[in-house]
């Protein structure tokens, strides 16, 4: 408690004079951030340690989203059930929510919100009667604790696979870095980094290490605090040795030929204002959340001096992470693109209620047919690298994007590290791309 109090004082001092917000009640805080404090959810017949497969999938249809149900039913994968665990976010984020989210309001225009400092802007339980509940949940995702104030994935293996034959077509090795310029709660400085003349909210920096033909490709995305402003995106191509600006068309394109759009990163990587958001209800579903050190690991893809190994993949075409799933409280939200020329018609997001990460997505094409299934496995930080322990970050740890129409997938294997030294501010500049390019 002493730690919390000191943190509260520090946060208050940091923003003193800028925003005076009404405090959020403890009851709301408890319900929003500690949904399993009074017990974990259950479902008839579902037990920790069991496996859901073709033989029993009908019994557990209600705890699977439609895509996972389809995959299990057709024998493409199985679902191993793990215990529901507490993915408690960092105290600083919870305290920021308590202090600054009491009077946050949604703006009149689409993609507008009143001034927020840090924390979860709408910690209250969503209501189906609220026509803008979906938008509020999207804001909670955008300003979620996510990777914390900064983090890195070093390295990050993306493998393109033919789902029918299981052939690995290409593997791209990358480094990813994330940095929040504003809404910071845990890493100094907080709540924001200054100077910040364009009022950036967040930046993502990607550097490709292998293979040779895309080596030194770098991507930098700047997202603005003003959600109505389109991201600035920059691409450095190794063979051109210069930085190109990207038009937003490339953010909905196959990133480096994978099944993943830039807009797909982390579950959704775009503006709130690009989508119409609809809250469809709260469910208890099996989510890909687990302890990394208890999973089956891939002994070939990555070796390092830490002894770290990445999550193994199996199932049809090697397209499914070999992980356990746990029953969790989930908000089902649909997003429909505002732009009628967008390549998709909608996404169904399954937002984890405790963390507001998006471990499961289903994407539908312009005809309304299921196109892609996104899974991003979340590892508990206390069962991962020692540096991640106590960070409160649900570690993105394994992903698969399955193109169900093309029977093709891209899988991702992570080494996620929450360490501010790996993501200094200067790494998120255009000049860094030139300096890092060879």
């Amino acid at each position: 408690m002493l730690k919390k109090s000191l943190l509260s004082i520090a946060l208050s001092a940091a923003v003193m004079g800028s925003v005076q917000a009404a405090a959020v009640s403890d009851e709301i805080i408890q319900e929003s951030f500690y949904p399993y404090a009074d017990g974990v959810p259950s479902f008839p017949g579902l037990e920790v340690g069991m496996t859901i497969d073709q033989s029993n999938v009908e019994q557990f249809k209600d705890v699977l989203d439609p895509a996972m149900y389809m995959f299990v039913k057709e024998g493409a994968t199985t679902v191993k059930v793990g215990p529901t665990t507490d993915f408690a976010l960092h105290d600083s984020y919870v305290e920021a929510t308590r202090q600054y989210s009491g009077d946050v309001t949604i703006g009149e225009g689409h993609g507008e919100i009143s001034k927020t400092v840090a924390g979860r802007p709408f910690p209250q339980e969503p209501s189906l009667d609220d026509p803008r509940a979906g938008e509020k949940l999207a804001w909670n995702y955008k300003y979620g604790y996510n990777w914390g104030d900064s983090a890195a994935i070093m390295p990050f293996y993306w493998t393109m696979r033919d789902m029918e034959s299981g052939k690995k077509e290409r593997t791209i090795k990358m480094n990813f870095h994330f940095l929040n310029f504003t809404h910071r709660t845990q890493q100094e400085p907080y709540p924001e980094i200054t100077p910040n003349p364009s009022e950036l909210f967040r930046a993502i920096y990607v550097q490709v290490l292998e293979p040779f033909d895309v080596k030194n490709t770098q991507l930098l995305i700047h997202r603005f605090e003003d959600d109505t402003k389109v991201d600035n995106a920059y691409l450095y191509l190794g063979f051109q040795r210069r930085v190109r600006r990207l038009s937003s068309g490339q953010t909905t394109d196959a990133f480096l030929g994978t099944d993943v759009m830039i807009e797909d990163f982390e579950g959704y990587n775009g503006r709130i204002s690009d989508m119409k958001w609809t809250y469809k209800g709260t469910k208890y579903l099996l989510m890909p959340m687990y302890n990394h050190d208890e999973m089956t690991l891939d002994t070939e893809t990555h070796q390092d001096e830490d002894g770290y190994q990445v999550i193994a993949f199996g199932g049809k075409g090697g397209c499914f992470p070999e992980i356990t799933y746990q029953l969790r409280k989930v908000y089902v939200v649909e997003s429909e693109p505002v732009d009628q020329n967008h390549p998709i018609s909608k996404r169904q997001h399954y937002m984890d209620a405790q963390t507001f990460i998006i471990p499961r997505n289903i994407t539908y094409d312009r005809k309304g047919e299921m196109w892609k299934s996104w899974t991003i496995g979340q590892a508990h930080p206390d069962h991962h690298l020692p540096v991640n322990k106590g960070t409160g970050v649900a570690i993105d740890d394994s992903f698969t994007m399955i193109d169900v129409q093309a029977q093709h997938c891209t899988t991702g294997q992570f080494k996620g590290i929450v360490d501010p030294k790996l993501s200094p501010v200067d790494k998120f500049t255009v000049q860094n791309m030139r300096a890092s390019g060879n």
Partner: protein, 557 residues
Amino acid sequence: MSKTITTAFTPLAVAVATALAAGTPVTPVSAAETNWAGFVENATYHRKDVGLSKFRNTAQAEFETRFETDSLRSLTLNGTLRGTYDGVYDMNDDEFGKDARYDYLGQDWHDPDLSSPTILTSGVPFPCENDPTLCNNLDGYMDQDENDAKYPEFNDQLDFIRELYLTGDKKLANGDIVSFRLGKQQVVWGKTDLFRVLDVMNPVDYSRHNIYDELEDIRIPQWMLKLDWRMGANQVFDDSNLSLVWNFDKFRPNNLGTCGQSYRIVDAGCFFSSSLNESYLDLVTDSMGMGTNVYSANVPIIHDVEEPEWSLANTQLGLKWEGVYGDATFSLNALTYRQQMPSLHFRPIAPGAPAPAPDGVFDIKFPRVNLLGGAVDYYSMNMDAVWRVELAYSEGEEQPRDLNGHKETDMLRYVIGFDKNLVIPQLGTRSAFLISTQLFGEHILDHEADMPNDEDNWIATALFKGFYMNNRLSPQVIVAHDFAAAATVVAPSISFTPDNHWMFNLGLNIKDGGDETFPWSVAQGQSVYEPLARFTNGPIGVANAEDEIQLTVRYSF
């Protein structure tokens, strides 16, 4: 996949790093790890009516060694090694190489009708293997022998070491970062594809494949020191950087391709190894009443190449300030350097002496040039597209002209580019197509009527590139049109990358135009092709007979 090696290479890397870093305030270092990557490649091109025009086999290896040191935030040594063997000189030696012979100057470009054949001889292929006088005159420039063309990196400049540089950076107390990059390197300025406006720090080897190879592969790396002061964001700019580049290498001009090579931009190599016909000169001097025995042999077009020797005064210096302001990224550039294209200076002769001088008509010089310029790109939300503008104003350049060979003039060059990504479902892919267009303009401020280049000229380019099969199959078409030359090149190609290692690229390179003539005073003012119209027709027009089908196979590791 690249390989990480931490064994035998380490002592060498430390030694090279120590040598490069001599004089810099770096504490003793130790190598952490070395990563190697590279490829082997065969490029086989077939030219219409000529046969094989390229059978280039390349091996390239790149390494990066990271060092641990307490005094710098990071310290790395990078190198790129490249070796090439072009078998075309062994496999099609009737057309290319020391034994090739040309009936008249410009044989690969135009028919003989307007070629001034009675005045100019044809070019001598590889003059250093066929004509000692020409070889001596061209000493130091465009004087390669056949082996130099077969194995272009293995020369006195050690070009097989394409790049070798040490990079370090240090964070200052105020958060700014200072960095250096010292060694043989490429420094890239500007935002233009295919053409160079600000990207003039390194000379270019056009003998590899005219203007069509990636600039990364044809820039001639130079020994340079680059210093950057990365100031990051301030109250106005989101990013700001000041960069100083000192090219302390001995000056090297663009390689235009020696006569006898399969690619020689604007056929300059053959012009430089041609001569004025003695029989023509005899007729002229006789008509002037000077007798017919003034010239005892053909008079070489080039008498001497005056390449600047190394001296501190002959080094080149550039300064760039760049940054990000809102939705725009910008740079302001200043450079003092040497013109990389040769300038022909008519040789002064004594009053009453015959013209031209019997031992050569022109000397080649590379004048000092001062350049100011800048570049901006801007993302337009409304158009969902990116605009690029690049501009360079130079003084000291010399442009070719009929009278006296050249004239010094200020020059203005600019590019307006437009890039957009567009999904076109009708073309059978959900991936966006890249549409990129450019208009490259050139304005000669002190233009003269006897200059073969127009006062204003433009070249328009368009790139249309698509992606299929998870980007592993990528068709594209590049079109470029030179307005003054009325010449067009269309280059469709398709590349297939089945896995992490193999890449296959099949392409066509089809040109049209190149039919412009220009009046030459020596030919009584007739509009002829030779020699001046090569400038009017430019690199696209002069290569109008070089239609090719091209296959490249690469294995990367």
